[in-house]
């Protein structure tokens, strides 16, 4: 960071990245329907409006169900896949893992379209459930990637020591492996949850009449009067995200302190 040019670039980059997030709460408390400076006055009216919005609550509920279920299912699958890919060798292992990771590089639009075609073809009604299936498909690769590194860094002799001391495969997994990869599992849960909550295309294509939060917010932006309430919602979402990530980071650091490992930096 010696060159002043690079420094200016870095500062400009950070402003570009975070300034919009700062604008969010500013306008959420601004006493005007028009999103523009100068600010006209302080109000909590938009939060109240948001709170009263029944449709919003239903979209939020749907999204929470989708993201929560997705996070749990994807992480569950991720645990098995990551464990298999790091510990066992079996025929066509590379190909299978490749297939699991494929949605990572496939455009989401294509995934959404294909799933829509398939669901319509086999006449599965579109609902929260179909969105969950789509989200599990796209978040499992993230889970596998995170958990593979967690399983990889696990010394094999821990497992062997547990066998040696009389435990079977299941109790060894529960008593030794699971606790040691727990920081990875928490990371995976959070990241899958966040990706699912954010995701728009699949949620929009596959949700049928069940509106999800991302699609609802997008819809509200067509009505200028609704925009401040959405900014209020955005403010709350930012706060919740920061809280969740802080909690995750807390657990990750505690995990490292507990196992006496070296902190190689988490996702925060």
């Amino acid at each position: 960071m010696k060159s002043p040019g690079l420094r200016a670039y870095a500062i400009g980059y950070l402003i570009f990245l975070y300034a919009p997030i700062l604008l969010l709460p500013i306008f959420a408390f601004n006493d005007s329907k028009i999103i523009a400076f100068p600010l006209s006055g302080f109000t909590t009216q938009w939060f109240g409006e948001m709170w009263q919005d029944a449709q919003l609550w239903s979209a939020l509920k749907n999204s929470m169900i989708i993201s929560g279920t997705t996070a749990i299912l994807a992480t569950g699958l991720g645990i098995f896949a990551a464990r298999a890919s790091t510990r066992y060798t079996f025929p066509a292992k590379g190909g299978l893992i490749g297939l699991i990771m494929l949605p990572l590089v496939l455009p989401e639009m294509i995934v959404a379209m294909l799933l829509l075609v398939v669901f319509l073809a086999i006449s599965v009604p579109l609902s929260i459930f179909t969105v969950i299936l789509g989200h599990v498909l796209i978040t499992t690769p993230f889970s596998v990637a995170i958990l593979s590194s967690a399983f990889q860094s696990l010394d094999k002799s821990f497992e062997e020591a547990a066998y040696d001391l009389g435990e079977g495969p299941v109790s060894t997994f529960r008593l030794i492996i699971l606790p040691l990869v727990m920081p990875g599992i928490i990371s995976s849960l959070l990241i899958c949850f966040t990706i699912s909550l954010d995701e728009f295309i699949i949620a929009y294509f596959l949700s049928g009449s069940d509106t999800v939060l991302s699609a609802y917010i997008y819809g509200q932006f067509r009505f200028p009067a609704k925009v401040p309430a959405m900014l209020a919602l955005g403010t709350i979402l930012v706060l919740v995200s920061v809280m969740l990530l802080s909690i995750a980071e807390f657990f990750r650091r505690r995990g490292i302190a507990k196992t006496g490992g070296k902190d190689t930096g988490g996702f925060l």
């Binding site: 002799s157 040696d164 196992t259």
Partner: protein, 364 residues
């Protein structure tokens, strides 16, 4: 050495392949009950693999492994009467010291207080009394090793397996733990099988040692035999220092072999000094400490040979001299203890070297 001890572990022609690589090439050996047994050999010779076939972590392709006269072919690792101290110690990092030590007692029907007492006892045995509540990661290398020992011994296994348990410790700690381990083994009377690549460690600690090269046992003997009567040049070279001197065999009669060793002259050897031949060019081996440098005016009842000092290496307690023998190009290394009043000789000095025929081993 008592030979009446019953057999604890028996290998019968054990072969093991990793893919195409032939890692164990026909291991046959017995380890006796209550014995401190070492597997010694250079890196990659298959020591760890052999140890892991006892623990049950590694299957074998052909042959039989018996523990306490029971075939282990279908017995999984968690049901074998063995426990292991891993090279990395494998102390569970998310548990306290006492949780680690008590881990193997989970399936034990005893009450909680009885188990607690057993943990305390095991900790006391390895000198870690009062460390129970410590977090596992807040331990030094030596303490981790003791925890690993206590954790393995609390189950009172028939066999304790140790894979290079001391290699992570510094020299002082290692020497200290060697003695501790010997004491512990005498105290508990359990069969110990130790893997090491450190020949000194093996000699110090073991009742018997199997020297391994390339997946085979080259020699299995007690430390003294291994040191004094290695059965091949390779073993002799691996264990301690040995001088090799070219020789010719003059004749054999009635269990005695007459040879001519370059620089030493004619020597008559007993049969026990001549391990089975391998078709190599004949050589005699001599340990440095079996040769004595004679100071001017000193005489010896042993045989002597004149020589010239070529190199002097000072080691504090010892001095090593490299000496050319009897005007030949044969150079031997000999070691002299540095006792008060004994001078260090200079390079180029002509000296007499005393040696005795019993110290020789013939390799051919």
């Amino acid at each position: 050495m008592t030979t009446t001890k019953p057999t604890m572990i028996e290998f019968r022609d054990v072969h093991k392949y990793y893919g195409d690589y032939h890692a164990l090439r026909g291991i046959s050996a017995t380890i006796r009950a209550g014995e401190f047994f070492s597997l010694l050999g250079p890196s990659g010779c298959g020591k760890t693999t052999l140890l892991r076939t006892i623990a049950g972590f590694e299957g074998i392709d052909t042959g039989v492994v018996l523990i306490d006269r029971k075939d282990m072919a279908r017995v999984p690792a968690n049901e074998r009467p063995t426990n292991m101290v891993f090279q990395s110690y494998a102390i569970f990092p998310h548990m306290s010291v006492e949780e680690n030590v008590g881990f193997g007692l989970r399936r034990d029907p005893r009450t909680k207080t009885e188990k607690q007492a057993a943990v305390e006892e095991a900790l006391a045995m390895v000198g870690l009394k009062g460390f129970g509540k410590r977090a596992a990661h807040a331990l030094s290398g030596g303490q981790r090793q003791r925890v690993a020992l206590a954790r393995a011994l609390i189950l009172k296994p028939k066999v304790l397996l140790l894979d290079e348990p001391l290699s992570a410790l510094d020299k002082k700690m290692r020497e200290h733990m060697q003695v501790e381990l010997i004491k512990l083994q005498r105290q508990v009377g359990i069969t110990f099988v130790l893997v090491t690549h450190d020949q000194e460690e093996a000699l110090v600690m073991s009742d018997r040692i199997a020297v391994m090269f390339d997946g085979e046992i080259a020699q299995l003997a007690d430390p003294e035999t291994l040191y004094r009567r290695p059965n091949s040049k390779k073993v002799a070279d691996f264990i301690g220092t040995m001088n090799f001197i070219p020789a010719t065999v003059l004749g054999e009669s009635g269990g005695r072999i007459e040879i001519e060793a370059k620089g030493l002259g004619r020597v008559e050897l007993m049969a026990e000094q001549c391990p089975a031949g391998r078709g190599d060019a004949p050589m005699v081996g001599l340990r440095p400490e079996t040769l004595t440098l004679l100071y001017p005016g000193q005489t010896s009842t042993e045989r002597t040979v004149a020589g010239v000092i070529d190199e002097v290496i000072y080691f504090g307690d010892m001095t090593y001299y490299d000496v050319y023998l009897g005007g030949t190009d044969v150079e031997v290394r000999l070691s002299m203890r540095n006792v008060p009043g004994r001078l260090i000789m200079d390079v180029g000095t002509s000296v007499d070297v005393a040696w005795s025929p019993e110290a020789l081993v013939l390799f051919r």
